[in-house]
Subunit: 130 residues, 2 copies
DNA sequence: ATCAGTGCAAACCATTTGCAAATTA
DNA sequence: TAATTTGCAAATGGTTTGCACTGAT
């Protein structure tokens, strides 16, 4: 019961596999391009629809980059966390640090601001690219 | 010397005035709409070009919202700081808290991540809308 | 046999750009 | 007048949608 629709299709498997393979943010266009090489191609609209599908199920996380383009990465957004993005290799590291949440909370006292949500993003160079 | 072009034109004055009037993020379309009421209208492309102009001079700050639309607010981005955005009235409060910068720095030790930049955004309800 | 998923092309929407006319210095 | 700025319309580029067809259950 409660099992919502979810056909297992080739496009979904291909896209999921691609995202699972690398811990970084991909744009829809990037995913589409990558799949062109593979045997069975996937249309760009299917890429978008699949990403939306995965997003709804909480299987991937999305972020909009500076240019306004949406990008997606495989990481369970269940637990609230932040991202550290390596600007060299693009690697994404999940950062779940209670200190940060505590800090965010202190905003309330300092600025009289009732916090509902917060977002932090760190960019730099990861251990490997440093 | 060093005085780059900078004509004082009506569109620039109108847009600057509008942004200065309210401490919140405006989209280009919103600004354009607002100026339609005023006596002298301004084309949407001029709104975009003016925003770009102000951005280059560091007179405004920009952010891309969840939908991918760019929004702009009047605040001097000279000092690094973050924004607390009231989700009721949209008011933007600059948050310059050294504690946060320190926290961001600690990322280096904790995750072996060499930090180049970071971004934090808080949304909730401001003192007035709480 | 159904209902969900796909491809394609067209539609959308925010943003950008070319160019001639208008404006500022 | 020389250089910048504006308006308009057309071009972009990412994302969405309608619809007939294909594929999964």
């Amino acid at each position: 019961m409660g099992t919502r629709s979810a056909y297992v299709t080739k496009p979904r498997e291909q896209i999921t596999a691609l995202l699972r393979a690398e811990p970084r943010f991909f744009s829809a266009a990037e995913i589409h391009r990558r799949l062109e090489d593979e045997a069975s191609k996937v249309s760009l609209s299917t890429v978008y629809r699949t990403l939306e599908h995965l997003l709804e199920r909480g299987e991937i996380a999305a972020r909009v980059d500076e240019s306004g383009e949406s990008t997606y990465t495989m990481c369970a957004p269940e637990r609230h966390h932040h991202h550290a993005i390596c600007r060299v290799c693009g690697r994404v590291e999940d950062v779940t640090c209670s200190t940060m949440d505590q800090l965010a909370e202190s905003l309330r006292q300092l600025h009289g601001f009732e916090l509902d949500d917060h977002k932090m993003e760190f960019s730099g160079r990861c251990r490997a690219c440093r």
